[in-house]
């Protein structure tokens, strides 16, 4: 048996996996109820099963049907990379829990570790990972460091994910954006963002 469409093959697996997960989790954790009085598990279990069946069809199609167009998959990372990333978060989360730190720090540190690992070992995934990392860092740095530094993290990390990175250009862009953010969002729309790290204020 040969996989004729990698795109369909992996989509099929993705749908089967998540369908089964939703179905099994619903059945084992919530009440099914009856068709007259549906319990909280009923609808998700049915939908999960349906998703799984659809996944099987897609999977079958990927090995049987001759595909049209290019069906080779071009994702710059693989499923093991995703598992490693998840493992890093889980390990750091437990670590933070053990020494009594907030899980927020585990997320910030985990994100930065994954960003560095990506730059070193998966340079083609730089765009996706650094942009995601930049937004996540922004969210988690806002409370401890304030808008000015969180925005710096967002702008510099995300700009580093692009094709070219010039310190001067990005710095100018950052200054424009931070002035704009402060004027429009903090002064204008009065969003309750701290501007500076807690320590100073």
């Amino acid at each position: 048996m040969k996989i004729k469409s990698q795109k369909d093959f992996w989509s099929g697996l993705m749908f089967i996996g998540s369908g089964l997960f939703f179905m099994v989790w619903a059945i084992t954790h919530y009440q099914m109820g009856t068709a007259v009085r549906m319990g909280p598990a009923y609808f998700p279990a049915v939908l999960g099963g349906l998703l799984g069946v659809l996944g099987v069809f897609i999977l079958a199609e990927s090995v049987m049907m001759e595909p049209e167009g290019d069906k080779t998959l071009a994702i710059p990372f693989n499923i093991i990379d995703i598992l490693i990333a998840v493992a890093i978060y889980v390990a750091l989360g437990f670590g933070a829990h053990l020494i009594g730190f907030s899980a927020d720090w585990a997320i910030i540190i985990g994100t930065l570790i994954i960003a560095v690992l990506t730059i070193m070992y998966r340079p083609n995934a730089k765009g996706l990972v650094l942009i995601t990392a930049a937004t996540v860092a922004y969210g988690y740095l806002m409370k401890p460091l304030g808008l000015v530094l969180a925005t710096a993290a967002l702008v510099f990390i995300s700009a580093f994910g692009g094709h070219e990175f010039k310190w001067r250009e990005v710095s100018v862009l950052y200054i424009i954006l931070i002035v704009f953010s402060v004027l429009v969002f903090v002064k204008g729309l009065t969003l309750p963002f701290p501007l500076w790290p807690e320590y100073f204020s």
Binding site: L47, L54, E68, A74, G127, T132
Partner: protein, 502 residues
């Protein structure tokens, strides 16, 4: 007739107040501004700007969002004509002839015809909504849970049938979306579902966050991965006004586009995308010079642009009268209404006439503003296009991040956006369309609720969906749709329609 006039008077009374005019203006400007940026479509634009409407009154928020929607659409055509990059999927066909016109130095007339055609289509569609919405809402008020459930099934099926690419994958994405929509507290039993002990998930996943991740982040990453290549005809945007011949050639196309677009827009899942593709094929078929298409025929710009604007507007009809979104943009609008504490549905028209008719009147006002403002401002939008993407995307990210963070000042929301961004990226690579998923996501809880009620009322008899006439009609229509699309001959045809873009 009198009733319609009376309603429109109420509507314009609301829409033409200075404050609402201001919001419509801001909406149109912001929408165009972001719509012009390549690779950011209306869904991402609306998702991104949604948080700034939270502090407004419901009327003002909807007026502004509608303005953003038209603006984003309009901006999309501008980039299609000038840079050959469709700002959104419904202006893909505009690229074909619009860009060729620009290369021949006729960018001005192409932009003007697009704007005027859209305006005309907008006027017609606004009137159509005013006429068609009240009777439809009347019918919808009689809907019980069984009818609603079947209607949603029909809507979701129609949306997948009309989506791009593999049908079965689109259905899987809908089901996936429905499942994601169920995360959070179950309204009937109070049980927390799929929250895994995370307190932030007990209210469910915010649809704005999902939409921003799946569309916003994923689109930006896709753009960064592409090498930048843009050829812009900045210097050539002069003589804006089309010639007499241009008008003579395209007035019929505008009419045909408007008619087709208005019909297709009402269909669930149809909206602007199908309207513009359909209108282009139609023009090519009825034209005396089909060979001119693809080489700068003005009809090839006029028809799809009128059609997509008409479709964009009439897609408000099912949203306003039934509370059922027909496409991803309408799903966002419904989300916005719910955040404002308004349950979308047929009762809105009677309970909040100023909201309903104000929105309709403001559609017309918004369209007028776009023509009046944007034709003179084209030069400015063009300048914006010359800004390299490496400056644009960090700026877009700043807005997205602020928007998501300000939803509840909780970094967890930003994390979820990141997760859905990665998911959106993977889905794009696997050729799984995100739009059906967003529709499923917003309909998930509604569908479950109506299914439960229908089954309770029928004492567990599932045939109720086929014994009630209206419900049976929707169910049969869904089955017919599925069968038709599965037929090999039609399948080919459907693929052809979407291939035409290339």
């Amino acid at each position: 007739m009198e009733q319609i006039l009376h309603n429109l008077v109420i509507g314009f009374g609301v829409a033409v107040t200075p404050i609402h005019l201001l919001y419509a203006l801001i909406g149109c400007l912001l929408g165009t501004l972001i719509g012009v940026l390549p690779g950011i479509g209306p869904v991402a634009t609306i998702a991104m700007l949604l948080p700034i409407t939270f502090n407004l009154s419901p009327v003002a928020a909807l007026i502004m969002l509608a303005g953003i929607y038209y603006g984003a659409q309009y901006g999309g055509s501008t980039t299609a004509i000038l840079v050959n990059i469709p700002g959104e999927s419904s202006s893909v066909v505009t690229c074909l002839d619009g860009y060729q016109m620009a290369r021949q130095g006729r960018a001005g007339p192409a932009l003007a015809v697009a704007a005027l055609g859209s305006f005309f289509a907008g006027c017609v569609a606004t009137l159509l909504i005013a006429v068609a919405a009240p009777p439809l809402a009347e019918v919808a008020l009689k809907f019980g849970p069984a009818e609603y459930f079947s209607l949603m099934v029909f809507g979701l099926i129609a949306a997948t049938v009309l989506a791009h690419g593999s049908l079965i994958k689109a259905i899987a994405m809908v089901v996936w979306g429905l499942l994601f929509g169920l995360v959070g507290t179950d309204v009937n039993s109070g049980v927390l579902r799929f929250t895994f002990g995370v307190p932030e998930l007990s209210d469910g996943i915010g649809f704005v966050i999902v939409a921003m991740g799946m569309f916003g982040t994923a689109e930006i990453v896709a753009n960064i991965e592409m090498k930048e290549h843009r050829e812009i005809f900045t210097s050539k945007v002069k003589n804006l006004w089309p010639t007499k011949d241009d008008f003579k050639n395209c007035w019929a196309s505008v009419l045909r586009g408007t008619a087709l677009g208005s019909c297709l827009g009402i269909l669930p899942g149809g909206g602007a995308l199908l309207a513009s593709f359909g209108a282009y094929s139609l023009e090519k078929k009825v034209s005396k010079h089909p060979e001119k298409f693809g080489k700068g025929a003005i009809e090839g710009v006029a028809a799809p642009e009128s059609a997509n604007n008409a479709g964009a507007q009439t897609s408000f009809i099912p949203m306003l009268t039934l509370g059922i979104p027909s496409n991803a943009v309408m799903a966002l609008m419904i989300g916005a209404l719910m955040i404002q504490g308004i349950a979308p549905g047929p009762q809105v028209m009677n309970e909040k006439p100023e909201l309903f008719w104000g929105l309709i009147a403001s559609m017309w006002v918004g369209n007028l503003m776009l023509v009046v403002l944007n034709l003179p401002l084209i030069g400015m939008w063009v300048k914006l296009l010359t800004v390299p993407y490496r400056y644009l995307y960090p700026s877009i990210l700043v807005f997205m991040a602020i928007g998501v963070y300000s939803l509840s000042n909780n970094p967890f929301d930003v994390l979820i956006m990141g997760v859905f961004g990665v998911l959106g990226y993977i889905c794009a690579k696997l050729e799984c369309e995100p739009a059906p998923m967003i529709l499923g996501f917003i309909l998930g809880p509604l569908m479950e609720e109506n299914l439960r009620r229908a089954m309770l009322l029928s004492r567990g008899d599932p045939t109720v969906f086929f014994t009630k006439p209206i419900s049976a009609g929707f169910m049969i229509a869904s089955i017919i749709l599925l069968v038709i699309v599965a037929l090999p001959a039609i399948r080919k045809k459907r693929e052809e329609v979407f291939v035409e873009e290339g």
